[in-house]
Amino acid sequence: MSVEADLPLASPRSIRWSRRRASLAETGRRIRKDRLAVIALLVLIGFVLLAIITPWITDRADFNAINTGNNPTNQPPNGDYLLGTDRYGRSVALQLMWGARVSLFVGFVATVLTIVIGVLIGLAAGFFGGWIDALLMRITDWFLVIPFLPTAIVLAAVLERSLWTVVLVIGITSWPSSARLVRSQVLSVRERLYVDRARALGAGRLHIVGRHILPNVTPLILASATLAVPISILTETTLSFLGLGDPTSISWGGMLDQAQQSSAVTAGHWWYYLPPGIAIMLVVLAFTIFGRALEEVLDPRLRAR
């Protein structure tokens, strides 16, 4: 197991890498002990795989209204249509599969944007300190306090309808918490001895950030990203439901909007609004469980408990 011991001549670089590998293995081992987290991960992998292979096993054109003229409309689930059909005779199951792509895509990309903004601001604030820190943290506080969803809604209402608008809106409204997280980590890492030593050795700022600070805050960023994805997905869902998503690409939230527009609830067309909701719930639940497990493993403070 202990790689370092067997390689006395290893370069410092390889030692660092093998250490990282070992800690990754340790993380994996701890997570594996948490049965729920494993199930959650499996669910997630299942959804991601489904989203990836959908274009290969189905045809997007199959649920374009132009090709569904002969299908029965508003059919409950049956042998031909696993989850029934909607008002234009389009298969709900197909929409659900393709919707997974859009919902997960927005969830991931928006989270990446959130984290990138958050990390940049958090790093800058924590590393430079002084007035830059004060200013950035003031801005962060502003964004933390103003209500998240209403802000997202007015932004989306003012901008054009597209998936990128949704991504942008989520990014703009949800970066502050990761910025704070990163900043506090940077502050604590900065105080550690080796950064001082590196600085004493004349290392450049970029070097310090890239080599010493980033690797140390990465695990936490990872955990918080895992927890940010479900929030992004829920936000996309709400925006789409309010008619602020991209109506040309069907997402789970968009399906719920469609269901609402075609009065599925009152007409008793449960197959139209239950599946997307359950899919959202499963994905969000899985991400949350897995994210918390990850956080618990990666954050020493939580682990102590």
């Binding site: 103003i146 209403p150 309010l242 009152t266």
Partner: protein
């Protein structure tokens, strides 16, 4: 010392509010849009009339002039005019305030049941109660609140007919006193339960971890060692200490519940701020949306301020810092 803390927090809140005002104004002006044209599509109005209308909606002159005019208006408590019927935005929002306070208040109260559950779950960590409560909380947390609303509406109103399908009270009802109150309660139960359910999980989880944190404190062990009853230790020592994070959560959640109310109110035709926002988005009625956003933000900022001050009061260490 204490006064200084409060003043500092107030300045923070005011700066946030100032930020919101600026953000709010320029957000609606980045995109150069002229709602007057679409509003009066097909009305055959002369250009002079359109110019007059633009003036009314503070859409003429340079951006800077508009901004100054906007600030001057705000100082007079004037939020401009809604595109719908030229009614003052402040008046329209005023009409929607009470139903939302009622709904959000009730659902916050319902959601706060999560605090009690959370304390109990944290106290008996790992027990069957804890596992059940935590799982259920995660479950409700994972559902979009408006989806819960759709499911409830479909089941309890459309299918079973137990509840009215929407609104604040029965049509044409001029009931007063208890009858009116019960009628509104009957209409409110479903949306309030939905909103409460959506946020009960969060309260529960935060309260639970706050409790777990206090469990490690030495004085709890001490109290126990002194032979205090378990229940008593929990109530006298643990719960008061676990209160802090819950207070700040309540303030943050206030904003979230407002957000959730937008979709839920529109599903249940609840004539509050949420439904007004939904209608303003669908219009779009930009001046209305602008006013609503400012008002909701101001409400949330105020709630945060109160929470901060309360936090300082509960935990002298914070105020001292």
């Amino acid at each position: 010392m204490r006064a200084g803390f409060v003043i500092r927090k107030c300045i923070g809140a005011i700066s946030t509010l100032a930020f919101v005002v600026v953000f709010n104004f320029f957000l609606f002006r980045i995109v150069n849009r002229d709602p007057v044209n679409s509003m009066f599509r097909g009305r055959n109005l002369k250009p002079e009339k359109l110019a007059e209308l633009r003036r009314k909606f503070n859409l003429d002159g340079s951006k800077w002039d508009q901004f100054v005019a906007y600030l001057r208006q705000l100082l007079h408590g004037d939020l401009g005019y809604s595109l719908k019927g030229f009614r003052p935005v402040a008046t329209v929002i005023g009409e929607t305030l009470w139903p939302t306070v009622l709904l959000v208040g009730t659902s916050t109260f319902l959601a706060m049941i999560g605090i009690t559950i959370g304390y109990r779950a944290g106290w008996r960590r790992g027990s069957k109660f804890d596992t059940t409560a935590t799982s259920l909380s995660m479950l409700t947390y994972s559902m979009p609140e408006f989806w819960i609303g759709m499911v409830f509406l479909g089941l309890f109103s459309a299918k079973l007919g137990w509840f009215p399908v929407g609104g604040l009270e029965d049509p044409g009802s001029h009931a007063t006193g208890l009858t009116k109150w019960l009628d509104q309660l009957h209409h409110m139960l479903l949306p309030a339960t939905v909103l409460g359910l959506a946020y009960v999980g969060e309260y529960m989880i935060v309260a639970r971890s706050a409790m777990i944190e206090t469990l490690n404190e030495d004085y709890l062990q001490l109290a126990r060692a002194k032979g205090m009853r378990d229940d008593e230790v929990r109530r006298r020592h643990a719960v008061p200490n676990a209160r802090l994070p819950v207070v700040s959560l309540s303030a943050i959640n206030f904003g979230f519940i407002f957000g959730g109310a937008i979709a839920v109110e529109s599903i249940f035709s609840w004539p509050g701020i949420g439904q007004a926002t939904y209608l303003a988005v669908r219009g779009p009625d930009l001046p209305m949306l602008q006013g609503l956003f400012l008002l909701i933000s101001a409400g949330v900022i105020l709630a945060n301020l109160v929470a901060d001050v309360l936090y300082g009061k509960l935990d002298p260490r914070v105020a001292g810092r």
